[in-house]
């Protein structure tokens, strides 16, 4: 059991606002790890930094021991050529006064490494079919080159068939196989959330990040969601989720971290976090 994801002193500043301040996290392999906190605590910012959508102002993010940010060591570890390019470009940029080279992996590269995510406000490809949405999720695991796509080579055809089959399996897994030809936007809300999870799973992640997966769900849907999350975890995918529903969080997660005003105020198993005076204060305010 190793550490899947680790952040060391990660901060993010938006102008004068310090959205995330020196946060250290450790997500262990195979666990369900939850991040909670009041609105505006910096949870989604944290997610966006891990997913490569934002570059942290400072700090380090490591996925399975390798750095996503800063990327310097990452390139050194993986591709000497890129590291050389990086060194030269960095020197040039600094010399011209543009500051250092951007250091983070881009989102698609993070996904290819094995981190998949869903969004707080659902972001499906609305006017593509449900099946196509999941197939897009497999994009980074496909090998068809431009000429394969243009000429429909046997390689591309067989890959296409395989990918489609896998997408159908995933849809069956989340219970949407009936809707595979529908437009994603025509699905009911709950199904759209499930489809987003299926799309994320299609990239074959080791770490699945769910941003408020139960938002807007009724109790029955929440029970089904918990089952789904447990099933995903039993397939060896580590789960990192943001959630506001305390009952759900306490029920499924092994460990919880609490953010407030961009700072980590508590971390530990559910019982411990629930009774932490700082957490109670953050949610309910100081006792008079």
């Amino acid at each position: 059991m190793g550490t899947v994801l680790e952040t060391r002193g990660v901060s993010k500043r938006f102008g004068g606002l310090l959205a995330v301040n020196e946060v250290d996290l450790r997500v262990e392999e195979g666990e369900i790890f939850a991040m909670i906190g009041p609105n505006g605590a910096g949870k989604t910012t944290m997610f966006n930094m891990i997913a490569g959508l934002y570059k942290p102002t400072s700090g380090q993010i490591l996925f399975r021991g390798k750095s996503i940010y800063p990327i310097r060591e990452f390139w050194r570890n993986y591709t000497p050529l890129l590291a050389g390019y990086y060194a030269v470009a960095d020197r040039v940029r600094r010399g011209l006064g543009f500051g250092p080279m951007p250091l983070a992996l881009r989102p698609h590269a993070v996904t290819t490494l094995g981190i998949a995510r869903t969004f707080q406000n659902i972001r499906l490809f609305s006017f593509m079919s449900v099946l196509e949405n999941v197939m897009v999720g497999e994009h980074c695991r496909m090998h068809a080159q431009v000429y394969d796509s243009l000429l429909r080579t046997p390689r591309a055809v067989s890959e296409e068939r395989r990918v489609q089959e896998r997408a159908r399996d995933l849809l069956k897994f989340v219970g949407l196989e009936r809707y595979s030809e529908e437009y994603a936007r025509n699905l009911p809300y709950g199904h759209q959330r499930r489809l987003e999870i299926a799309r994320a799973l299609a990239s074959g992640p080791r770490l699945l990040m769910l941003d408020e997966p139960a938002a807007g769900f009724n109790p029955q849907e929440k029970v089904e969601l918990i089952q789904l999350i447990q099933q995903i975890r039993s397939q060896g995918v580590t789960i990192f989720l943001i959630e506001h529903d305390m009952k759900l969080v306490m029920e499924i997660s092994q460990r919880i971290v609490v953010l407030d005003y961009g700072e980590k105020i508590a971390e530990g198993p559910p019982e411990q976090v629930r009774n932490d005076p700082r957490v109670v204060e953050a949610y309910l305010g100081k006792p008079a």
Binding site: A51, L53, R106, P107, H108, A109, T111, T112, A116, R117, F119, R123, L124, F125, S126, F127, M128, E132, M135, V136, G137, H139, C140, R141, M142, A144, V146, D148, S149, L150, L151, R152, A156, E159, E160, Y183, R185, R199, A200, S203
Partner: protein, 392 residues
């Protein structure tokens, strides 16, 4: 039918209604899958066209329309599939035309064969697609449109002003005309000014292009384009490299206009920078795909044909028609009024009114792709539609 033949019928025979339903749905499925027969018939008709219609000027019109269709199909990749609004498409057309004119004429006394350059200029145009696409990668919607518009203006101007290489305003005259060389006992054939062989060239290029574009649409790359069109952030987070995917859209879109450019300069025998202006090419091609139905190959072809017919037939003939109408009716209050010259002067006004009319009647385009149709039916308050409007 296939569905039933695969599955053995259950022992208790299904009700008549169910059977009819089954047959009917199998029929609609076959229809949706698209039988190839009508397309083959159409293709045969097109191949036979020069034999049926001996009038060379008709063949000339047909090949010119074919070139526009090719341009529209190329732009459709960029705008219709990837959702990147490109207002500078004429630039790539010009690059294709000039690369043939410069490499196969007396300009530098270089004479590279047409057939080779037909392919090579597609690569040259694709390269420029990447070069011009790269700076626009961070831009979206309106901003992207402005930058591409700039490129579309710059390129013809560069060709006009670097007169040492391109002949300046006069362009390059005396571009090589294609010929089929003497090989394997074939006598060899010079195209000269006969439109018929050009017609077959553009027909072949079109058929191949359409097949390639159909392949693209249902491929890994095509899905990635559509994902970017729908939601770029989600696409990136789903594992699509948005930079390479967008550059590929620019490159592949441009390559089709590279074909068209080479073909165009070979056919015309001349290239001049005036032929590649914004209003002569970029905007016309954009109108073709918007009016026909973005993202739908059939729609784009129909749109291209209609706009082509409007521009180069209806509007040209209109003054003549009006004049003859006037003389045949002979209304007293119209005596001495030259309706024809009015029509001639207000050609673009009439063109504009027709366009406005069509777009009001069919905002989704004449033959829309399924998704565009749904988008428009669902109204404009929707976020996704707003995104699309911004970018397309």
């Amino acid at each position: 039918m296939t569905a039933r033949s695969q599955k053995p019928a259950p022992s208790s025979s299904p009700s008549v209604a169910a059977r009819i339903r089954g047959t009917w749905s199998a029929g609609t499925r076959a229809f949706a899958r698209g039988s190839r027969v009508p397309y083959i018939v159409l293709l045969l008709l097109l191949v036979a066209f020069p034999f049926i219609d001996g009038n060379q000027s008709h063949i000339g019109i047909a090949q010119d329309a074919g070139r526009w269709i090719l341009l529209a199909l190329g732009l459709n990749i960029v705008v219709g599939y990837a959702g990147l609004l490109d207002l500078g498409y004429a630039a790539f057309f010009a690059i294709g035309a000039y690369s043939y004119a410069m490499l196969a004429s007396g300009q530098f006394n270089v004479h590279v064969p047409f057939w080779f350059l037909l392919l090579a200029s597609a690569f040259i145009a694709a390269l420029f697609g990447v070069i011009l696409g790269a700076p626009t990668l961070r831009l979206r919607g309106d901003y992207l449109a402005i930058v591409t518009l700039g490129f579309g203006e710059i390129v013809p101007r560069v060709f006009r002003n670097s007169s040492k290489f391109t002949g300046g305003v006069n362009g390059i005259v005396g571009v090589d005309q294609p010929f089929i060389p003497k090989v394997f006992g074939f006598p060899g054939y010079h195209f000269l000014f006969n439109p018929v062989p050009y017609y077959y060239v553009i027909l072949a290029v079109l058929v191949i292009s359409i097949l390639l574009i159909i392949n693209l649409r249902n491929s890994r790359l095509g899905r990635a384009w559509m994902a970017i069109r729908e939601d770029e952030v989600a696409a990136a987070s789903t594992g699509i490299n948005t930079v390479t995917t967008k550059l590929l859209a620019f490159a592949l879109g441009a390559s089709f206009s590279g074909f068209a450019g080479t073909y165009y300069s070979a056919y015309l025998f001349v290239v001049t920078p005036e032929a590649f202006s914004f209003q002569a090419v970029s905007i016309v091609v954009l109108i073709m795909i918007v009016l026909g139905g973005m993202g739908n190959i059939t729609g784009v072809i129909v749109g291209a044909l209609i706009i082509y017919a409007l521009q180069s037939y209806v509007l040209v003939q209109l003054p003549g028609w009006l004049n003859s109408l006037q003389s045949s009716i002979n209304l007293p209050f119209l005596q001495g009024v030259d309706l024809g010259s009015y029509a001639q002067d207000s050609k673009y006004l009439i063109f504009g009114i027709i366009l406005v009319g069509i777009m009001l009647l069919r905002p989704q385009g004449l033959i829309p792709s399924a998704q565009r149709k749904v988008e428009l039916e669902l109204g404009t308050q929707d976020e996704a539609v707003a995104d699309l409007r911004g970018s397309a």
